[in-house]
Symmetry: C3
Subunit: 348 residues, 3 copies
């Protein structure tokens, strides 16, 4: 799709400086600006790149004053805030790529499923089980699987190969990335002599509204009631959420985090990549946990911690720096011991 | 499905106290008991919740004596052991949800595959390759893939999107969760100047009986012979098992564990979440390895270790606690050095 | 497939010693040699196994001199280098198993896609989107998904259930294992009060030639331009590559590594299992990073490091060994303090 400087200025409530008919069909970063693209000056640190960019249009702040001449091929679109305007433009373009409604002839939809055919997209090889309920404008990509009795709220997207086990409940405006698994059996076994007997996992998973779940992330269903992912939670790729966990509103987790069974996490927490949380603990609200931490005890509201076991961030980095001095410290202590023995002897 | 108190007591060899016709269709925990559900008093710590539960039926031990009046809406079913009875009931309900036999018209089954059509369930978009052999009562969910010459034993379940590469052998009564990958190429490359040349991976994966494999877990096939997962092994989600690994009977691994190539793990081990094991080592029988440990050397039978490199559990937590005192220790040592120098001078 | 000793010697430019018509249909390791298989003596440590192997053919070096009599059932094929010859043979056998060209009737191929039908294999339930361009000899296994406008180069293999998002570019001779996800949305959100607003991810992923990507590995697309995986990169299973990352030529990563957004990694690096790299850092060329390291700062060319924060390998293991002596050190320091106080008093 192509847009002219004039069209872009119109949408963004901006002002063209240069060729109003200049056309772009893609974005580029200011340091790599290519012909036919729109670039932007959001971070002033990068200002020097604009003087020889090959980009066709640049979004700049209203108050931008060039310090030398700009390329002749460059048209400016001046807006109140270049960064906000860029985000607005990206969102528009993104929406324009959305799949059109329609049910592919090679999809399978159970006769008992409730699918608003006029607003939903159901791709080839998608599977919609018995009694499934889809909201309006739902998009189910190819190879996605929605098990029996599951429901998916309005405007939610399930990308290719997402698997939703039976009875799961997915909210509105959620985005589930390719290969994510929702509702697999929790890891529950009772010892029986040397062997293990499976404890049936009869609960489900509830994902509330505005949740994003990364590619190949897995969320197990509860033993009896529900594993719950509250509204606004953002989960990156390859995360593991065990059975009976609850993740509070607007909490974000980076990739490869693992949360053990029955742990409750508060709202607006930030959990770094590859963190592991033990089972049956409680993480308060607005807690920050640094990457790769191992957490086996509960954490109070508002704390920022890192490490295994976790300590304050400053404390952790101070101790980590001294970790490499351990051999030297060990030698020094031995030396001191000898010197003291020497002093004692002399004393006597 | 609905069950009456009378039916439940009949099945569990229990005794009704209250309305024998009271009906339930789901389970609930004692602290959240909802009308129309069966709850249970397995842990006496939770006894106080029973006095105002809204659940319709409660499973209790035969010797339970209420300390105050129970809700009028509550019917008791007394059994010898409430916890065992609950597990029995959950297993029954679980089985009742199993898929009915039948081959979906949108499945693909190679003409050379051996599929007992009267007892197997093969879902839409399932793929069964050349010369595949399925046992009786096998369940293959939608989007599962069984490569050429693979075999799957009686009563095994492959959930949605499980991928079994060619020549893999899966035992009886196994459960493979959505997105699990069995038999992918081992990670083997020989340096060739600056580049790497692929070493062909010609072996396979053998999964014995009663194994459970979590969602999106990956098990690579051997270079020449077999990667082996012995009977009764339980693997959680997102685990990586490299080529030529052998995992002994009844060993359990929590989520996100990674096992490097050619490592042998004994029987009845417990391996915590996010543990990493180096290649070509031997872990004995009944070994416990704490979460997030990094193990590069072999471990003897019966040891319990944690850390990187792993040490005894007590030792690890003691050292970890002192880790945060490192800056203080460092300062103290410097101070002591000065004081000793002082003392020496005085001495002279 | 069966091969005679004569055929094998012919291919490998070797020499038969024994029954030229002896036939094998599989490989076996020297310590487990089974009848009907070809074994090999590549590592002299294993020489003693050859004297009672049941294998039918053994590949040995030209200069191998048995120290006692070999089994009567064993035929030798002598070659210049047994290990190289074995690799050559394995590669041949491997190629012989490749899928034949052909488009399955249950595949979906968009009418606007460009698929060389005479040389490509497209399995059942494979999905090829709008304007997709496939090279020659491409193999797309069942349940693989190639989104709109994506391209896949000559001789590349997408195994079962690989998901390629729209606009991704995959090079020649690549191998993508089952469940790998290429081009999922980067994890980008802007805070908006207590909530998060999604930053659209409009870029793509470029995978150059001769890249191997492990099972269930995930690679996110860039915000605006491209996440880039350079030629010859080898990625193991369950790895996470975030948006805007660049991985240099011939770099290898073991399983479960996580790379945060915008980080640039040089060429010919080796990154151990479960390593985590922070965002916006630069790893030089030929860098080795030990397993489970946590890296938050840039690393110069040619360094070998391990730990969190990473230090030299020797330094790390030295400090790790002393880690377990921390409680003892702590006690010693306290003891020394007392003794010095004692000495000072006496002094006075």
């Amino acid at each position: 799709m192509e847009f002219s400087a004039k069209q872009i200025a119109g949408v963004l409530n901006g002002r063209v400086e240069g060729d109003a008919e200049a056309k772009v069909s893609d974005f580029s970063k200011i340091e790599e600006g290519k012909p036919g693209t729109l670039t932007f000056l959001a971070n002033l640190k990068y200002t020097h790149f604009i003087y020889d960019t090959q980009a066709t249009i640049a979004l700049v702040n209203e108050d931008f004053v060039p310090e030398k001449s700009l390329p002749e091929t460059l048209t400016l679109v001046r807006v109140a805030n270049a960064y906000t305007a860029l985000a607005q433009l990206m969102t528009m373009v993104d929406r324009s790529q959305a799949k059109k409604p329609g049910i592919h002839s090679m999809a399978f939809i159970s006769s008992t499923a409730n699918v608003p055919a006029d607003s939903c997209y159901i791709g080839a090889f998608a599977f919609i089980g018995e009694n499934v309920k889809l909201g309006n404008n739902v998009k189910i990509y190819p190879h996605a699987y929605v098990g029996d009795n599951a429901s998916v709220g309005d405007d939610t997207i399930l990308y290719a190969g997402v698997k939703i086990y039976d009875n799961s409940i997915i909210g509105k405006r959620c985005i589930l990335h390719a290969g994510a698994v929702i509702g697999s059996d929790g890891f529950g076994f009772a010892p029986e002599g040397d062997k293990y007997k499976k404890i049936p996992q009869l609960g489900n998973v509830i994902v509330e509204d505005d949740v994003e779940i990364g590619a190949n992330t897995t969320i197990d269903r509860a033993v009896i009631d529900s594993t719950i992912i509250r509204s606004g939670v953002k989960l990156d790729n390859l995360i593991q959420i065990a059975h009976n966990v609850e993740v509070g509103e607007n909490t974000g987790m980076a990739a490869q985090v693992g949360i053990s069974g029955s742990t409750k996490i508060g709202r607006n927490c930030m959990i770094g990549g590859q963190v592991g949380l033990g089972g049956h603990i409680k993480i308060g609200d607005r807690v920050n946990i640094g990457a790769q931490s191992g957490v086996l005890s509960s954490i109070e509201d508002g704390e920022s911690v890192i490490g295994s076991p976790p300590v304050g961030v400053r404390e952790f980095f101070r101790s980590s720096l001294i970790f490499r001095k351990l051999p030297e410290m060990y030698r020094t202590i031995n030396q001191l011991q000898k010197e003291i023995e020497e002093l004692k002897k002399i004393k006597k």
